[in-house]
Symmetry: C2
Subunit: 162 residues, 2 copies
């Protein structure tokens, strides 16, 4: 149930500005990658992104995708998530800043959590000899489905022992 709170045109303009400042070339590949990222609801990984581009008949090499993702990270237009060892995911910064992430340790589900109070506190955090730029907060635990499933399993096992 994630909504992209993004304005694709605005994000594109920010990227253009970023590339101009850094004397980078504004290639079709880079714009196309960003465009498809804006079209994805929620998280994505490199695999998924390339598949979407291919489906849209715009093939971009793996190397270029990694290159562009690096630029977008540096431009602070996307953020990187890694909840488990296996999978690296990304998300539009514009979408990510609207919520925290709660990860279920038992089924891997990711729940988006609105919590403006905490976010405000952290943005106001002052660390000595350190200039705050951004942060990431991941909350780990058990989702309600798993809690229900595991409590039933537990009951069943106890009954079997009688």
């Amino acid at each position: 149930m994630s909504i992209n709170y993004c304005n694709p045109e605005k994000i594109k303009d920010l990227f253009t500005k970023y590339m101009e400042i850094h004397n980078l070339r504004k290639t079709m590949e880079r714009y196309s990658i960003l465009h498809h990222i804006c079209m994805i609801q929620g998280h994505f990984d490199v695999e998924m992104l390339q598949k979407r581009l291919d489906e849209d008949n715009f093939h971009v090499s793996r190397a270029s995708i990694y290159n562009t993702i690096m630029l977008l990270l540096d431009a602070r237009l996307i953020v990187r998530h890694q909840f488990t060892t296996q999978l690296v995911e990304y998300e539009l910064q514009a979408a990510a800043e609207t919520h925290h992430h709660a990860f279920c340790n038992y089924c891997g589900a990711i729940k988006e959590v609105k919590e403006t109070h905490l976010r405000k506190e952290m943005t106001q955090l002052r660390i000595t000899k350190f200039t705050y730029e951004y942060h990431s907060l991941y909350i780990y635990g058990m989702c309600s489905k798993c809690k229900f499933r595991l409590s039933r399993k537990h009951k069943k096992e106890n009954n079997n022992n009688i």
Copy 2:
């Protein structure tokens, strides 16, 4: 400047208890790996851990190190950090819970931040349909050294333009 706030004996006992509950075998390898982790000040990676074990004439295979790390993560005795794409690091949970981490985007330095207020708030966080177990908070920004270095570089460039 990181201190291991660990009591190796206590941590070993917790691991023993964990293995007994889960019907796992208490092997020399597993205890040796945990022992060496307790001896490391601050963060470590798989490479470093194996090197330390080898230096102590206790060779353990890569596979067993990964296996044991997985158990220790599951037992909540160590935590996993990944500040960048390249490097996965681990840390004793007992040490990690005493601080947050602030990562410098420009030189990669990791600063440990004492901030009990935030930690308490997060532990008290209640999310609907979700049972909190633990969280991770990373703060990203610029350390004072890089700020100084970059401001000097900037000044120098401006002078050259005159």
